[in-house]
Amino acid sequence: MLVNYPEAAHWQVDPSRQDLVDEMRARPRGPHSHDLQRLLHRMRWTGVGKRHVLITLDPGRRWMLARLPGQRGAPVETFPNRVFTSLIEAEWTVFAMRWEALTGQKLD
């Protein structure tokens, strides 16, 4: 069997790397530096179970934050108060939530 184990992602996140946060804030959709790529892959790969996603409300215009349940058949958790009008804004928001989850540091 060919299996992807989310816990196999083990790039060490350094909470002091404010430069990566600043870079992400400046260019949420890239292009990204080598270290920011690695941070993003760590975040995106390990997000299983409670993976944040968007639900398209209005194609190309509005998206709502949501979270996958990590179980087939279970409903998607939605956050109707977290609606974005740009994918860049959404990308930054998800990054900030994951940064906080990984480092304990809340970003503005």
């Binding site: 069997m1 959709r29 890239g30 996603v53 194609p59 058949g73 998607v76 994918l87």
Partner: protein, 750 residues
């Protein structure tokens, strides 16, 4: 937000000719009626930055209102043998080999003649902890035996049970086939049940589930995930040794008076039948297409193709979530008027139109140009094989690498949210079953959410940008389909001067690739406006239309990997996997072949020296070769992106091919396909590796034919930018006009 799932349906047949009738099978758990309109699809993409949704209404006899009903789906495969007198013997011994693939998923039944509604009969199965159980029950009482140790996941084990009606003695056998390295879970359990139990009447014998009701075609429950090999049933209790020997023998003596049934799953591999070798002829019917042509308990690696020694492939892999046919009753039927143009069509269903959650759902079908009756010189292929391969993909929901692969937070559609919660529709060949094994079959007798207007932006929706562009520029064309190319071969293609394969013609049967090969050799002109085409080798079912099969094998960009020895197609016995590994790489057919994915963004092409060759001056007419080609597009901002192909002479790109343009600076988002890597080093990604690229190629073929290939999925979504007035549109138009001109291509003979 439009509700795209409150009513769902499928069209049957999926592809129809004018004069033929298509029926619509609909279901809604919440609506009792909807308005319906037939629409012809020009652009299925609601993206406000593109041409927008463009649907026309030809007017049909069924336009109006349709009453709706809830038609449930009952997934889970099984083999069902209708009740016969031979099954009613008071005593029994049952045995088989099993390979459980989700033993902890819940109680499951392997072999049964059991009525769940009555709680009577006998069943051999697993309990929720993975222990083998044998249960007997009748009006006089009941008994259950449970094995001492649970079975192991993905380990073969011989299982058997017997009941002696005279004494009430019951036995449960569990013998691991491989007892090394902690793999032994064997046990023998005996017990006592009431004697002379009476079995329920009109009860089907079922493999991989049990009946929930009486009758020859009952609803089933308790579905088993795993393989079952060589099931045998006797009318008297047998010793473990005798029962096991009977299961190991490929063909137990049909003259054995105690033998009730001995099933051989290696027979009629493409069918939905299972054959009994005993004189009772207790043949059965498969439900929901469990996986056939898979390695049995006796497979030893001596062959890897089931056709070489079918007797090693006498197992079937059943899945509790197999789904091949919703079995919904039809609600509407439409005879296609003779004057309708071929094309992408859909039944549009609307309801709650004035609410803030209006229903807008579609059921797709295709109207083909009839065989031998070409209406235009140009044909556009509807890639129904690819649409089926991706049908109801849950890749972004289930596979943990999806967000990393797609290089950004995932945006789900309402369809995706529905699929997450409604797995009963059956998934795509990119997905895994709930037991982790790959989906190898896909059918059209079910709603396919991503093959319709408003669906996700891949394949079907992307391809409609080509339709929109053809309509806008006034090109006349017929629509033909993959399934018809497979059935009718080159004769279908040769009616056309030029054929366009669209954004992602990825799945090809041998008949299809042979048809294009013959068409090109015979002077046909082929425009390939996509990426990652002609990649996987598939089969269409020999008699059941719109059923396709893929085995992923152990190479290629695959979301699951085929099991060892199981990469031969059950539908036709051919190997599956990549065409590249079968000596037919895409480069031999269209000059370019898949080499990389790039989802960070899409890129422009740079023109190469070949573009200045006077023999292709017609191709670049009106184009500034000093400027980038396609530095715009609806998918990632460029024309080269998503999945890309390159020219590769070692894989068969023709010697006199002109490599006109390239996008070979795909940056770190460009990731090479797996078959492109022989050894590993850190320099293989797009930011360091010019083999990660998209190429545009042109070459003439024999007898005045020619091929033009763009090698990028993103290409077609750049056609319509700037009001259709752009370099991608101009080049495509130049090529199409020239390809429709029968004049041969001069100067390539040397």
């Amino acid at each position: 937000m439009r509700d795209t799932t409150a009513v769902l349906g499928y069209a049957w047949p999926l592809v129809v000719s004018p004069g033929e009738t298509v029926s619509f099978h609909l279901s809604s758990p919440t609506l009792d009626a909807a308005q319906v309109r037939i629409v012809r699809v020009r652009c299925a993409d609601p993206d406000p930055d593109g041409p927008g949704l463009k649907l026309s209404e030809p007017g049909s006899a069924i336009d109006g209102r349709v009453a709706l009903r809830d038609q449930p789906v009952h997934p889970g495969s099984a083999a069902i043998i209708a009740d016969r007198p031979a099954l009613n013997a008071p005593s029994l011994a049952a045995g088989c080999f099993i390979y459980p693939t989700a033993p902890l998923a819940g109680p499951q039944t392997v072999m049964s003649r059991w009525r769940a509604d009555l709680g009577q009969g006998w069943r051999l199965g697993l309990d929720q902890a993975g222990h083998l159980v044998f249960e007997v029950a009748g009006a006089a009482g009941a008994a259950t035996l449970t094995s001492a140790r649970p079975v192991l996941e993905r380990e073969w084990v011989f299982v058997g049970a017997s009941y002696d009606a005279a004494s009430g003695a019951i036995t449960l056998i569990q013998r691991s086939l491989d007892r090394l390295g902690g793999r032994d879970s064997s046990s023998l359990t005996t017990g006592q049940a009431p004697a002379s139990l009476a079995w329920p009447t009109e009860t089907a014998l079922v493999f991989a589930a049990h009946a929930f009701e009486s009758g020859a075609d009952p609803l089933t429950s308790g579905h088993f995930d795993g393989k079952i090999d060589r099931p045998r049933l006797f009318r008297e209790p047998l010793s473990e040794e005798t029962l096991r020997r009977a299961c190991e023998m490929l063909a137990p003596s049909p003259a054995d008076p105690a033998l009730v049934g001995a099933w051989d799953f290696s027979q009629e591999m493409a069918s939905d039948k299972v054959r009994d070798l005993s004189t009772n002829r207790l043949d059965g019917q498969l439900r929901h297409m469990p996986m056939r042509a898979i390695a049995g308990a006796n497979w030893d690696g001596s062959v890897v193709q089931w056709t070489e020694r079918p007797e090693l492939y006498g197992a079937i892999h059943f899945h509790s979530d197999d789904m091949a046919d919703c079995g919904w009753q039809p609600d509407l039927a439409l005879k296609i008027p003779a004057d309708w143009r071929s094309g992408f069509y859909a039944l549009k269903l609307t309801a709650r139109e004035s609410s803030d959650d209006p229903v807008e759902s579609y059921v797709s079908f295709f109207v083909r140009a009839p065989l031998g009756q070409a209406k235009a010189k140009l044909a556009l292929v509807a890639t129904t094989a690819t649409f089926l391969a991706y049908a109801n993909s849950a890749l972004r929901l289930d596979q943990v690498h999806a967000e990393a692969m797609l290089e950004g937070v995932i945006a789900l559609s309402r369809d995706d949210v529905y699929i997450q919660e409604h797995r009963e529709l059956g998934l795509s060949t990119y997905d895994t079953h709930s037991d982790g094994s790959g989906w190898c079959y896909s059918t059209a007798k079910r709603p396919i959410l991503n093959m319709r207007p408003l669906g996700n932006t891949f394949n079907y929706v992307n391809d409609t940008h080509i339709i929109d562009w053809l309509e806008e520029l006034g090109f006349d064309y017929d629509v033909i389909t993959d399934c018809d190319i497979d059935r009718h071969g080159a004769q279908l293609l040769e009616a056309y001067d030029c054929v366009i394969t669209p954004s992602h013609p990825e799945y090809y049967s041998r008949n299809m690739i042979d048809a294009f090969d013959a068409y090109q050799r015979g002077g046909g002109r082929h425009i390939y406006l996509g990426g990652n085409g002609f990649y996987w080798r598939i089969a269409w079912h020999p008699t059941q239309p719109f059923q396709m099969e893929i085995r992923r094998g152990m190479s290629g960009l695959r979301t699951w990997e085929g099991e060892p020895g199981e990469n031969g197609l059950s539908f036709n016995g051919e190997p599956s996997g990549l065409w590249r590994t079968h000596g037919r790489p895409p480069q031999r057919l269209v000059g370019v072949g898949f080499d990389a994915q790039v989802f960070t963004r899409s890129y422009p092409y740079e023109w190469l020296e070949d573009a200045r060759d006077p023999r292709v001056s017609w191709l670049v007419e009106g184009i500034d070769l000093a400027k980038p080609l396609g530095d715009f597009g609806l998918r990632g901002g460029g024309a080269a992106g998503l999945e890309v192909d390159r020219v590769e002479p070692t894989l068969g790109s023709p010697p006199h091919l002109l490599r006109l343009a390239t996008a070979d600076r795909l940056d770190y988002g460009g990731v090479p396909t797996l078959e492109e890597l022989r050894t590993l080093h850190r320099g293989t990604m797009g930011d360091q590796n010019a083999l990660v690229r998209a190429d545009i190629a042109f070459f003439p073929t024999a007898a005045g034919g020619a091929v033009f290939a763009t090698g990028s999925i993103a290409w077609c979504c750049a056609l319509t930018c700037n009001g259709y007035d752009n370099s991608v549109s101009r080049v495509t138009g130049n090529v199409l006009r020239r390809f429709l001109d029968p004049a041969p291509f001069e100067g390539f003979d040397d």
